[in-house]
């Protein structure tokens, strides 16, 4: 298993390199001079030239890339233009907030979608099943920002049950347990939008995965030999359906973080998603590069976790021979 994981980690290196090259080139292609952004507008031509040399912008692009890569590998992402602080500190600060939001959503979705999916598959075309089919369809068709705005309009503006946005009240100095309660209270609305969005697609996948399995011959055999329905569905059925579910998790997990970009900026949740939007709007190239790289790594880790989970639930997957 360890060998397999190491091998997969090594596989990630060329992918990350390619992604970083793409991001680098895209940002370098930007018309306009990044130096102009960072110096005051009154600077003379000589000052600009000196700054260009200091930042290494006079070198050919591949050397610039290698310089950047070297610095990145040493953990130096440069200075953020809008926050006037090292990019590393800013990203580190905001990524925690994103994790708080997304992990909550992740567990909630996981815990809800599996039982619902199983029930829907067990009673195909029942009222419950039809309800959740419609729910899924509506959920995947609803633009998340619009749903978020509707919730703010109804539950925060009209009935003042939840705060409109942010992660804590402005100027709040609560500590300990009170702080946790305050953050949770702010998390409810963005949490609902994200959870419903993910539930919509996951319930569908769990149900279809389960249905596929329940129509297999070995399930008929299990029933024929007189096993209880419980055993048939949960022991023989669900364990095999897990394979599909884990595959789905593989592309859902990375999507979770990037999908939160829009919601974070609607709910002014101080996570990396909303920071990316700020960085893009403020043309903060160093911050942009760092966040994009982080998103790419998160995506790859999501894929890796799915592959590991795959090997765990399906003994037929031969670990070590790893044809990815």
């Amino acid at each position: 298993m360890l060998k397999y994981i190491i091998k997969r980690l090594l596989h990630m290196i060329p992918v990350i390199l390619t992604i970083s090259i793409c991001i680098f080139i895209i940002i370098k292609l930007t018309p306009g001079e990044p130096v102009g952004n960072q110096l005051n507008p009154k600077s003379t031509a000589e000052e600009r030239a000196a700054e260009r040399i200091r930042l290494g912008l006079d070198k050919p692009i591949h050397i610039q890339y290698l310089d950047w890569l070297g610095r990145t590998l040493r953990g130096d992402f440069g200075q953020s233009y809008i926050y006037k602080r090292p990019v590393k500190d800013i990203v580190g600060h905001f990524v925690v907030n994103s994790f708080i939001l997304n992990l909550g959503v992740f567990f909630l979705t996981f815990l809800i979608s599996i039982p619902i999916g199983i029930v829907c598959a067990k009673k195909q075309y029942s009222k419950t099943d039809n309800f959740f089919s419609v729910f899924s369809l509506v959920g995947i068709s609803m633009p998340s920002f619009f749903f978020g705005l509707l919730l703010i309009f109804a539950l925060a503006v009209h009935f003042k049950i939840f705060p409109i946005n942010g992660m804590i009240n402005a100027g709040s100095e609560t500590q300990g347990f009170e702080r946790v309660k305050e953050v949770l209270h702010h998390m409810v609305l963005p949490g609902i939008v994200l959870t419903i969005g993910s539930l919509a697609s996951l319930v569908r996948y769990v149900r279809n995965g389960m249905l596929d399995v329940l129509h297999k011959d070995y399930i008929r055999t299990a029933r024929a030999k007189g096993l209880s329905e419980r055993k048939v569905v949960y022991k023989h059925g669900f364990r095999n359906a897990l394979i599909t579910i884990v595959t789905v998790l593989g592309f859902w997990l990375p999507g979770l973080f990037s999908g939160a970009v829009i919601l974070e900026s609607i709910f002014v949740w101080p996570g990396i998603g909303s920071t990316l939007v700020d960085a893009v709007n403020g043309r903060d190239y160093n911050l942009m590069m760092a966040i994009m790289l982080l998103f790419a790594i998160l995506t790859l880790i999501g894929n890796l976790l799915a592959d590991i989970g795959y090997a765990l639930v399906d003994p037929r997957v031969k670990v070590g021979e790893g044809n990815s």
Partner: protein, 302 residues
């Protein structure tokens, strides 16, 4: 999936073409038909926009700004006195167009890459599939945000629409490439391909005239779902101000008004209707997609 099936009706000598069969199965699906009708209404109202409203979408009228809905202005006017109903109609034009062309780009790229990869196999297949994998590990939305902001940075507003289309199209082909490749891998071993080789057809002709047309069912289903998500992506980008920008209206950038908390609370007619339009367009396309999947491949029915 083979969509070519011949159904002979006794005594009538009537043969249904494959698409007639798809249509006859599709029209039995009431839900999918409802989707088709909703989408048709949205498309017609977008196409006929100039006939449905006496106003222009960008005529600024400083004498009637921020008017609530009335008989003159069905959905009121915005902060520049533009008739809002008109802006939603024209916004539909842009949103639907961006969705359509984004999908066209991704279908073209996906079929070419998938076709070449599946047909030639070997090292070419290896390189193309690695490339596809890399594209698949791109974080889609963050990348779309960054690219459309950077590329669109110094361009005039009216070009942003094309940038948005291309960004979505160029980032969303890998899924289709994989599906097409998988199909072609099995199709190229079949007898009709041996016949094509025996006839001495060129590779290009074999790929584009014989192999790809056999995967068209998959491509159409993928394209429908792809169009729904392209419309969602465009609306999200435009909502953030990073896709199509005003004065060009799209459903997404019209919802942007809601970021002003006063508008959010007291002028819901400015942001709820365009949001509903996005929702209706996407759900109707998804319904059509589900219907098409069942109609083209009856075996997949659940």
């Amino acid at each position: 999936m083979r969509i070519f099936a011949v159904k002979a009706v006794p005594n009538q000598e009537k043969i249904m073409g494959p698409w007639q069969m798809v249509w006859s199965r599709f029209k039995k699906n009431k839900v999918a038909l409802v989707g088709l009708i909703i989408l048709a209404l949205l498309v017609v109202s977008a196409v006929l926009a100039p006939l449905l409203t006496p106003y222009e979408f960008d005529t600024i009228d400083t004498l009637s700004i921020n008017k609530p809905p009335s008989l003159q202005h069905l959905l009121g006017t915005d902060d520049l006195g533009r008739d809002y109903f008109t802006r939603i109609l024209y916004g539909g034009r842009i949103s639907l167009q961006v969705g359509l062309f984004a999908v066209v780009i991704s279908v073209i790229l996906g079929s070419i890459v998938g076709g070449i990869s599946g047909y030639y196999g070997g090292w070419l297949d290896n390189i193309l599939m690695r490339l596809t994998e890399i594209f698949m590990s791109f974080p889609f939305l963050p990348l779309a945000i960054t690219v459309s902001a950077i590329v669109g940075n110094n361009l005039p507003g009216e070009y942003k629409m094309y940038i948005t289309m291309m960004v979505i199209g160029f980032l969303s082909w890998p899924g289709l490439a994989r599906i097409v490749r998988g199909q072609i891998l099995s199709l190229r071993e079949q007898e009709f391909m041996q016949a094509a080789t025996a006839l001495g057809l060129s590779d290009t002709r074999k790929i584009f005239r014989h192999l790809l047309p056999n995967t068209v069912g998959y491509i159409i289903v993928y394209a429908t779902v792809g169009m729904a998500s392209a419309i969602l992506t465009e609306s999200a980008l435009s909502f953030l101000g990073l896709g199509v920008v005003p004065p060009t209206p799209t459903w997404g950038n019209l919802v942007q008004f809601a970021r002003d908390s006063y508008v959010l609370q007291y002028r819901p007619w400015l942001w709820i209707p365009p949001g509903l339009c996005i929702f209706l367009a996407v759900i109707s396309i998804n319904l059509i997609g589900d219907g098409l999947r069942d109609a083209i491949d009856p075996k997949s029915q659940r």
